[in-house]
């Protein structure tokens, strides 16, 4: 008897709107296309130059020689810029009906009312809604779309844009820098602590297109922020591409928690890059749930540059039929007394493939650092695949480093225990799978934990109060 854990219920996410754009750039990638995007976006000259230089870098770089097969991705078939029929609004009432309906169904405006300090919503290539609570504005918190930031805060953007993630990091970073559009810019001034989260939601509706949003967050000294990003798209038969870039600057004594629920449709190539530079006594925590996309290559990275800097990574990946999710975490310990804690889980079923790929590097000057990694993989059947590929690169002796990984199926003993209390085999297995994911779901904001449990759809409704 095999575990029957249902595929993720995608009904809400699969609502397709008509591909009703104001402007869709022709497919493919060329200097003309990049210049056209730049023109459409009214870039200042310096930004246009970054784009063109990035395109040159893109052309020079090779595809990765490792990881999932990317041959289905043909840049000639991808439109890199799709402008929706909407301007940037600060009231949901002003967002066009079809787009607003989508976000309503995803529960975004509802969540904003209840529990968020600010919301951004991107539809295809442009942000259609952005708002932030009045009192935060007064404290000097900036939360806006990236285009506005380029124009209103050019000095801050110039100093930070593509500096944490260098353009030549890999091919899709270069692509991102050439055609980026949308995304969020956050600045939290010194000492300001936000006690409820900001959230950006990214929706890609247009078929055969790409989303290349850029997220730039600066949490200044002693400040604190919880940022949530959600991503989804309806399923089309042709390949879509997501190559976003997230650059996070966590200054001395600051705290940032970055939570992601990624639920792209199963035709999505999700080749995303996220990095954080962490200062003295500062901390970044990543909480990541990866459920969607056909192929994912996503390895958030913490660069611990300041003494006593800390990072935690808590991630779960669930790959079902047709999915190849290559995810993990990278951390560079670059200063004394830095510490990292990694807790990763994956579930493979229905022929899906999960890979945990990681790097821990403790450099020569990271004396007295600590790193602890735990990594568990669950195989729900014998047609799926689960690989663990962690590199541990230790270059100093004063370090406490440990790494543990486990792979296996659901314990028969646990199933029997639960069945002896009256649960059917399916219920017992589902309960165990949910328990397996629990260390991650408990780290998520309540709404998202609920969403995640819905995503895993453990069919326990009605039986658990």
């Amino acid at each position: 008897m095999r575990t029957k854990v249902e595929d993720i219920n995608r009904n809400i996410y699969d609502i397709k709107n008509k591909d009703n754009y104001e402007f869709k750039i022709k497919k493919g990638l060329s200097k003309e296309i990049v210049e056209e995007i730049s023109k459409q976006k009214n870039d200042p000259d310096w930004m246009r130059e970054i784009r063109l230089k990035a395109l040159e870098t893109y052309e020079k770089l090779d595809l990765p020689t490792w990881g999932p097969d990317l041959s289905e991705l043909k840049m000639d078939n991808i439109a890199t810029y799709v402008k929706p029929k909407s301007d940037l609004n600060s009231s949901w009432d002003d967002v066009p009906e079809d787009i607003k309906n989508t976000f309503d169904k995803l529960g975004i405006p509802e969540a904003e009312k209840k529990s968020l300090a600010g919301v951004g919503a991107q539809y295809d290539s442009e942000v259609v809604y952005h708002s932030i609570k009045e009192d935060l504005l007064k404290k000097g918190v900036i939360y806006t779309d990236m285009e506005t930031a380029v124009k209103q805060y050019p000095e801050i953007v110039k100093e930070h844009f593509m500096k944490c993630v260098p353009i030549n990091d890999h091919k899709f970073v270069a692509l991102h820098a050439a055609v980026w559009s949308g995304g969020s810019f956050v600045y939290v001034p010194k000492g300001v602590k936000l006690d409820i989260p900001l959230q950006s939601y990214f929706r890609l509706n247009s078929p055969e297109s790409g989303q290349f949003e850029h997220t730039l967050i600066i949490v200044d000294e002693g400040a604190s922020l919880h940022f949530i990003e959600g991503c989804s798209a309806p399923k089309y038969n042709k390949v879509n591409l997501h190559a976003g870039c997230v650059e996070l600057y966590v200054k001395d004594g600051a705290y940032l928690r970055y939570s992601t629920i990624e639920n792209w449709s199963k035709n999505m190539m999700n080749l995303n890059t996220k990095k954080a530079i962490v200062g003295k006594n500062a901390q970044i925590d990543w909480v990541t749930g990866s459920f969607g996309s056909r192929v994912s290559m996503l390895y958030p990275m913490s660069i611990l540059n300041g003494e006593n800097a800390k990072t935690e990574y808590t991630g779960i990946t669930f790959a079902g039929k047709g999915q190849n999710l290559d995810t993990g975490f990278k951390v560079i310990h670059n200063a004394k007394n830095t510490s990292s804690l990694v807790n990763s889980k994956s579930i493979s079923k229905g022929g899906g493939s999960c890979t945990y790929r990681a790097l821990v590097r403790v450099s020569e000057n990271a004396k007295n650092s600590k790193c602890s990694v735990s990594c568990e993989s669950l195989m729900l059947d014998d047609i799926s695949r689960s690989d663990t590929i962690p590199v541990n690169d230790i270059r100093t002796d004063e370090v406490t480093f440990s790494h543990e990984a486990k792979i296996g199926k659901i314990s028969d003993k646990e199933i029997f225990y639960l069945m002896s209390r009256g649960l059917s085999e399916e219920d017992a297995k589902a309960m165990i799978v949910r328990g397996f994911a629990y260390p991650i779901s408990k780290e998520l904001p309540v709404e998202y934990a609920v969403e995640m449990n819905n995503l895993i759809n453990l069919e326990l409704e009605g039986s658990i109060g």
């Binding site: 490792w66 790097l359 195989m379 690989d387 480093f401 486990k406 296996g408």
Partner: protein
Amino acid sequence: MNVKLNETPVRTSRNFQINNLKLDIDIPTKIKEFENIEIINQESKITKEIELNDLVYGNGEELEENNIKYSNNKIRIETKKEDIKLIYNFDDKNLELINQIEIIGNNDANIIIEYKSNTDKKCFHNGIIKTIAKENCKLNIVIVNLMNDKSNSFEAIENDILENAVVNYTIIDLGGKTSVTNYYSNILGVNASNDLKTIYLGKNEEIKDLNYIAELKGEKTNIDIDVQGVLDGNCKKNFKGTIDFKKGCKKAKGNENEFCLLLSDKAKSIALPMLLCTEDEVEGNHSTASGKVDNKSLFYIMSRGLSYKEAVKLIVKSNFNKIIDRILDEEIKKEVLEEIDRRLD
């Protein structure tokens, strides 16, 4: 000559610098027969006729080709139930060994293979050891590398393990400026089992590169890898350990454990412990850890009158002890312990 060797079975990001090892080394060709070898046995059939197939992994194209073309010593053993010793003594007249060993496990046997330098000159070793453990056979194989600090040593090991057979492999990797081991175990038969235990001790500018790959194919197969190491000076070590649960290996178990003790803040320890899995009814675990000598133990031992250096030696040897105990030959065991002391001085 530039060579690329010890490629991992699955690549990861190039930036991580561990997919393979690149070296610039002199590879000798057209060399004379290696003469200073002792073979100690009673009954097993020992011949020189070996026909090797291409290795599944091996130490890279260049070295494998070098071995096939220029091999200057070949030993084929068909085991009888006994203890067998092969001792390769490098000396001023025998500085280069390109050898092949084939072990056909018909009967239970204990086999020790030792490489040692009785010279200060630079020695070169490029070897292939191919083992077939037949049904129900139990082999204990110990490889001891005591080559001098200038030497280069390359060993490619390959096992086929059939139904109910057990192969216990022990690798004592002490010698050489560069020591590269490729170990591939093809665990085929139902209930076949392989246990691999290694100690290494690297110092100065030495390079240690260990690439261990175990493929579990038969039902209820088992692999247990335990690697204990010590790094001093500027030594650089790469440990790549892969346990691959292939389709059909229901109820297989795989364990991999690596511990690296760092005695210097310049030493570099990279580990890539991989678990690959396409079967559900399996249990796979790996753990790696590294750190320096525990201050509490050090203090405790020193409080009993031992110097710092003596205390470190004691701790290192206690980490290694279980593995060294697998050397059943007292003489060679003594040589190993002395070499550890010498290298830690």
